[in-house]
Amino acid sequence: MADQTLPIAGSLDVTPQRSTGSVLLEWLHEWVVTVDHKRLGILYIVYGIVFLLVAGAEAIAIRIQLAVPHNHFLSPELFNEMFTMHGTTMVFLVGMTILFGFANYLVPLMIGARDMAFPRLNAFSFWMTAFGGLLLYYSFIGGFGLYGMGAAPDVTWWAYAPLTAKAFSPGHATDYWALSLIVAGFGTLGTAINIVATTLCLRCRGMSLMRMPLFVWLMLVTSGLTLITITPLTAAQIMLVIDRYLGGHFFDTQAGGSAVVWMHFFWIFGHPEVYVLVLPAFGVASEVIPVFSRKAIFGYPAMVAASVGIAFVSLGVWAHHMFTVGMTSVGNTFFVLSTMLVGIPTSLKIFNWLATIWGGKIRFSVPMLFALAFVFQFLLAGLTGIMLSAAPWDWQLHNSYFVIAHFHYVLVGAIVFNIFAAIYYWYPKMTGRMLNETLGKWHFWLFLIGFHVTFDTMHFVGILGMPRSIYTYEPDRGWNQLNFIISVGGIIQGIAVLIFAWNLVHSYFRGKAAGNDPWDAWTLEWATPSPPPGYNFATDPMVYSRRPLWDLKHPEDPDWKYE
């Protein structure tokens, strides 16, 4: 960014004088029409960070309302909109965008390619997703208007039928939910197609599939999974719109339709979706942990096999979200087994990261702090997942705050922590400047403390019987102090994220120069200048092992001797 559009200081100035306005307009135009995967990646990430702040504000609003019982900070209607929008935004406009943004930026660089397979499709996909998000948020000024709380979706992010039928949701809230996600879904589909084609068709010479960086592998698996994950949601939402506007009966329980069918279709999307979110996070960890332990990843082939295995098994576990719906005992038992089975390749990954660290020389730079916290937190999240997979226990825990604690442990404790690790790790490559290490450590410790204060406590309030999706609770149930503590943790996390946002902006202008390879890493993106030129590599790279830069830096002990 910094060196591609502005004139080089000190050179002969042969350009005619131009107004700031026209320079700004040209800069804006370049960003709007770009098909460069690096710029689109940055657009995705910035878009995602903006919505991280928005959805974070929604979470803070929720926690202020729930800090004390019978609070009047948010009306019931507005509360229901807040938690629906918080979940929908975080999954689709933050998680997907930031992670696919990193994929966009890094995959071509890591495989030694010049760009993605379909650059114009790439741009189209970004703008579809972006406009889908804008449509979703336009809902706040629809309906009764901004002061009447608008018509933002208020039916939870899983939008169960028949609550979403015209009869029970007469306004446009559900329509905004369905239509904006259909639009954004096309964008996601386009990016997934692009990543699959790029990784299979544009690898540089010598980079066989088993020599790709693990991040690329995980994005390939994620994209393949996305192709068959997002599309069921699109199908179900099309059915919902047909029900609401063309008088269809897909989910009309009074005409032979079934509310349970919606649940199946939604969770056939919904469960693999969380793997679409967590697999890229695994990819980030598999890049950061080796570099900062100064060791190659332990068990690369097993990591690949485990990732593929997770993707496949995750397609068969969806009804563990439906243990209380009245499936037969045999049906419930099947999904208990499949859910527990997915824990095996997942735990394998944790052990591989542990073995990578073992015997290494750990550097506690900020990316590594986040990655290490991720491993602990993901371990815990996986274990509470095992608890939830025991169906009879789930009959108690389902739809309680224990579930919210579990999935936030994954979404925040694993995914957001890895997103932060990724940002601290690759920001220097993208901007040419290092993020401030002191601010980074403040961000990390505050966020860690706030995260645990909130989400550790949340497990208990769920065990004590507090259900989810409630705008207030009774004061005699013993949940008061715990809720207050949870809310305090939320504020702490908010402060940490604000420090982070400040770091991002401040370091862009004042950060230390990064150079090509500030972390002494081993994958191809670190062989380019920071930021890389438009064409990425001056000559097509050729690789002989999984860590091409290790081979160059250690010609006496190259990787290809051992692979």
């Binding site: 208020d154 029970f168 332990s293 068990g299 719906v325 824990g343 073992w358 389902h398 065990i463 259900p467």
Partner: protein, 348 residues
Amino acid sequence: MKSLIRQHRTSRFWNAVVPFLFLFCAVAVPSAWADGPQSTPSILAPASTPAHSIYNLSLFVLAITGGIFVVVAGLLAFAIIRYRERKTDDASEPVQIYGSVQVELAWTVIPILIVVVLFLTTARIIFAIQDAPEPKSALDVTVVGHQFWWEFRYPKLGIVTANELHVPVSKATYLHLLSADVDHSFWVPQLGGKTDLIPNHPNQMWIQPDHTGLYLGQCAQFCGVEHAKMLLRVYVDSPEQFADWVKDEQQPGVQDPQVAQGRQIFETHACTNCHAIAGTAAVGTFGPDLTHLASRATIASGAALNTPANLRDWIKDPDQFKPGALMPAMQLSDAEIDQLVAYLSTLH
């Protein structure tokens, strides 16, 4: 730099231990409470047969997952401390280890074995609870979920009531779950796991309480704007208490001549569109049955205590307690409401 490392070491240690301590307290502390009902509907204080089965399973699962956590988190904590880069280290890279077939096989096989054990134990409990045959002496209750209240029918006893459920202790009660509109979920943690109420998809669950008393719960599937106020009160009665309650419920509504004026207001206004009072002309089914309203401790499905003042405010403007509740403000004059409340207060 050295102090930073020390700080890391201590924090890393507590980072590993503290969550486990939390989890341990979560189990130990509530379990130390006495058996029987309490106002915190904790799943760790079971008071009914299926709740006990679930609780025992949960302890087993917790023990295994707790053990896994101690081992893996312990190894992680150890690795982070032992293998950190020290100032006195040279610039060489550590020995690169790419994998080990034996180790990787071991840590694949052991989790598979753990899964097998967990799965078989869980499957046994699923069948024990879900497929338990209904005993002949069981009480049958039909539960109909509405936005935002609970309808309870005892078909064999000819009873229709709302929001507060009475069941006998020690006997099994089978709940047949239906819905009149959207999805709901019946959850009273101390008495059993939750089961959903889905329109056109009848479900069934059973409880078998072992102590008398009042147990609290609430709807556990988002059902609309007032989902939070669709509360549940389950009274587990001794055999005598239950028999008395049944006898009372089977009577038609009290006809106290002193409040005839209020009854007349009830019967001639739109109240009868939604509500029923046995023995009067009111047979509405859209709202709760009010025949024995005065015997209930709360109104509006737990949203407020059942006092004349609250009843008054509720009828005047339901949005005060439950904004978005489907009962409209009845547009009655204050005098009319007073008489109406006087009448309703006699309906024991």
